[in-house]
Subunit: 588 residues, 2 copies
């Protein structure tokens, strides 16, 4: 059975299946959410107005048998945080289940009567619109639990209190195999867009779904095998390798060593207590308190990398899954906080209330710079989350993220691009990632073009992170490859092995070609990624974005960052060269 | 003695006189502040960062003997509210005194040590940097009073608590002849830019200044006479005419009648209690309670229009000077409030705290739409100002104006352009003013191109306000003439007589030519105005503004406005035609 689009109209409380139109037939994941956003959403609409939509799509290989680490769901909309296009993808249970229902995408549009909230139960029989009145005001831990009582073993997509309040830092949660929230389409405020649709939660029941058709079983199996092997061979992704043993936070010590770990609201590149919040420290606590399975946890079925963790308290009880690199940095180094227990508890607050942890940690740091708290005040930082949960005026400031908080407290050192705050890599010390932050259509985002691979991790060669040279081209190539990977359903971490091991790259492409029947080879990855980027850039242009939106903040050009004492030196011309080709006839 | 520039460096706490460079020699008022902002401020700088400046300039004729109603001071900077260029001008005492000191402009730049605040005493002897520690945390009523104890009869420019907190709706106050605050360069948050410079107040001591040189006395006198006569003849501006008898609020009933009085956050064009907040009602109270001089008050020496009032309480004591049309609308109809006493008290709060009343009233209306208060809750509205004064989190939301408040409370019906909220004319019911709101470089601003003159008041002909036809050209002509008038130092209300009475238009130009020796005639007014507009548009382009920033909000295209049941129908092409000429070789 051919894949279909499920369109859910919240104004009329009706849902309908549509065939996938020709123009979208090639696409899945980010390529599809971007295509639908560009075709159906007015770039000039108010992000919280009636004309925005939430588009949800699994990747090309999502739901295919034993495609390794392929549980990413893509969410797309116009972002309340950036005002531009936003694709944010998450792990957890939803991708494979939506795919198994035979759905290419779910489009949620319209707005119900004011004050009406729904749980949408999506199954092979269509959509049930259940009142969500029992879930309102509740955090995602409770929402997930309540919904599994009624719909066990389903995927639950939902928003916490931040989403209900339509705050710009509200993310969309997806539950993990243990039915905990924390797999977030976190960035860009998409939870607020879902709230305007009156949707508190969606339950995906895959039982009896038609499953995913494989166009060419042999090619799929061949690709899957090559990709799997490359993941199992690479030092970062293999069993017991860096990500599996220490989680993504393995990067803390590495970035600190490189002088690129943003500290105390991007005022230094090294944090004196980095070791205390590192992946090694997390692994030690997990081993001591939590035992087996608390490191090397997988966020979705079929993951063979397993970089997640379940961080335990002193009694061995789980506090949260998981403390990522970005999280331990955002709540830790960037706030001058060195207590992992507080970092875990703050992360749990974010996962429950429905906040992106990167933006949330950066926001606390800005509030510290603005004088609301002292840097290092872990207890004070923890309490701010309760303000957001309760929707106090302070909470409504902080829940909107960095720029809103900076304005409220008169701070001009604001580490954002396009209204979105920077992740855990200092652009002055790692220039390529700064190019990505500046130019990606998504607003400052490391996952959009992760040049850290060659600049820091030595993947696909080793480049000098402090050098400006070639960083524009580098960022573009990574942005394009990422846009492709974000369309596959595979986790972005396959990038490490496939960049270093040729059969991995081929295997990824072959597995996509095998599932879809599309004529895609490894050589098509970057060009197809560029097609997606072009759509996204053009959306942003129609929303009023210009070259001036592709700039890092002023203070990074003016202030030298210790320990290297470097400023942002990449020229505007270099930045503009990244997407110069968009207005030429063809992608370069 | 030739006019000079006074440059005050707050980093080094030094001031220096500079000759007026050739490139700025032609300019005064808005033309000069715009020129300096464009030449000296990086359009991409953070508005609250170290590289923004405050530029202050009297007009061409300011300080010239008996130039009628010529007390406007122009303030320029990059706006924290819009992110674009901002010129905001005020009445009060400062314009004439700065001019009499022989200053073409004052440039305040740099930032002092954190936590240092100054009162700058500007006299013929230069600048004294006095500590402002005695003034900090104080409202402008007290600041003006304290400074006059030390420096009686001087002009006082200052910021209230909103400015100290660097809030985006902080204005700059100028005292009136009674030494009350309330003559505001209100729009665009320039008070926050002054705060970043560490300047709480400026005292202008004109004693012993060289005065204003008149290049051609005969021509000046001839022009002044023609202009004065035209003001004294025109129905709106003559003694006992509309503005003198009822103040600017004479417009309330007129706009209400026309269905163009925005009501309850721009959801209707008529307010059922309009008469209660009208100029007629204000005049009645003044007559009953206040007696002579409480209507027909002049905001600066030499004003012959005298549209101001001093609104009294039941005991005859002044509450505030003055309740403008914009104020009685913003705090009244737009919030569903019909109690003039509360409107007067809220206006006083704004003048004391240092807030633009248009933005402040719109903000209360947005908070009402967002559920913080009920429409019509005068007491609740009044209390919100105390939150701002105290800098509570709620105050820090509201003190930033409409867009910040809309985001905090999830409101998508947001009547702003370029981040600045709309004044008291509904663009759906008065199309030409909507074109001005959309396209002026200043963000939604009625004074930038007051097409109300022909569309509502029947000045310079009578046009159908509901018609789209010719409104782009109309707005451009008004915007250009306004940019010229804003450079003269004359009050914009001279526009009524000079548009209707030919000798007035000539007289304005001749008086400018007489003072300056420039070869300016009536035919040059619009072309010179266009030169100013072009500079401003180019600044905004360099700050990242595009055609998409020249759009009214989405909801005005979608919702019909009663009673005419009209939507915004002017096309984007019509809007883009207003400034299409900027990128042609010459102004059209």
């Amino acid at each position: 059975m051919a894949k279909r689009i499920l369109r859910i109209n919240m104004t009329e409380l009706k849902a309908a299946y549509e065939p996938v139109p020709e123009k979208w037939a090639r696409w899945a994941g980010r390529g599809l959410t971007t295509s639908i956003v560009c075709d159906e959403i007015d770039p000039m609409c108010h992000p919280l107005g009636p004309n925005n939509k939430v588009v949800i799509a699994p990747g090309w290989v999502s739901g295919s048998p034993a495609a390794p680490s392929s549980g990413r769901t893509s969410f797309g909309a116009k972002s309340p945080l950036t005002g531009g296009i936003k694709e944010s993808n998450a792990g957890g249970l939803s991708s494979q289940m939506i795919a198994k229902l035979g759905l290419a995408a779910i489009i949620v549009e319209g707005t119900p009567a004011k004050g009406s909230w729904y749980t949408l139960v999506v199954s092979k029989d269509g959509v049930k619109f259940e009142s969500a009145s029992d879930l309102m005001g509740k955090g995602m831990y409770e929402v997930d639990e309540l919904l599994w009582k009624k719909y066990p073993k389903t995927a639950v997509i939902g928003i916490g209190q931040a989403g209900e309040m339509k705050l710009s830092n509200a993310g969309i949660s997806v539950n993990d195999p243990e039915n905990k929230p924390g797999r977030y389409a976190g960035r860009g405020g998409l939870g607020a867009v879902m709230a305007v649709r009156g949707v508190k939660a969606m339950v995906i029941v895959d039982e009896g779904g038609p499953g995913v058709e494989i166009a060419n079983q042999d090619l799929f199996k061949q690709g899957r095998k090559k990709l799997t092997e490359s993941i199992q061979e690479h030092g970062l992704t293999k069993k017991g390798g860096g990500l599996n043993a220490f989680g993504t936070a393995v990067l803390v010590n590495i970035l600190n060593e490189a002088g690129g770990l943003p500290t105390r609201n991007f005022s230094a590149g090294q944090f004196e207590a980095a070791a205390k919040i590192s992946g090694e420290a997390i692994a030690e606590v997990c081993e001591k308190r939590g035992g087996e399975g608390t490191m090397g946890h997988g966020c979705h079925p079929g993951c063979i990398i397993k970089c997640s963790n379940i961080y335990p308290d002193a009694s061995g009880e789980a506090i949260v899954s998981c403390i990522e690199y970005e999280t331990t940095w955002a709540m830790g180094a960037n706030c001058g906080i060195e207590d992992l227990e507080f970092i875990a508890k703050m992360t749990r607050e974010c996962n429950d209330i429905g906040l992106d942890t990167i933006e949330a940690g950066n926001t606390v740091a800005i509030a510290m710079e603005g004088g609301l708290l002292e840097f290092g005040d872990a207890e004070g930082a923890f309490k701010t989350f309760d303000e957001i949960r309760k929707g106090t005026p302070l909470g409504r400031i902080l829940g909107q993220g960095v720029e809103a908080t900076a304005k409220a407290f008169g701070v001009s050192r604001v580490p954002t691009v396009k209204g979105q705050s920077m992740p855990a890599y200092e652009p002055r010390a790692v220039k390529g990632i700064g190019v990505t932050y500046a130019t990606t259509p998504m607003g400052a985002d490391h996952t959009a073009g992760y040049t850290i691979a060659p600049e820091i991790a030595g993947v696909s060669g080793k480049l000098d992170p402090l050098s400006d040279e070639g960083k524009a081209e580098l960022s573009l190539t990574f942005q394009a490859a990422t846009a492709f990977i974000d369309s596959t359903g595979y986790c972005l971490f396959i990038a490490f092995p496939i960049l270093d091991i040729a059969k991995g790259w081929e295997g990824m492409a072959e597995s996509v070609a095998g599932v879809t029947g599309l004529n895609i080879t490894g050589a098509d990855v970057v060009p197809i990624g560029k097609e997606i980027l072009k759509m996204e850039r053009l959306f942003n242009e129609k929303a009023g974005f210009t070259a001036e939106d592709d700039r890092p903040p002023e203070f990074m050009r003016e202030e030298s960052l210790p320990p290297h004492n470097v400023k942002w030196t990449i020229t505007d011309e270099q930045l503009d060269s990244v997407f110069g080709w968009v207005h030429e006839g063809q992608p370069a």
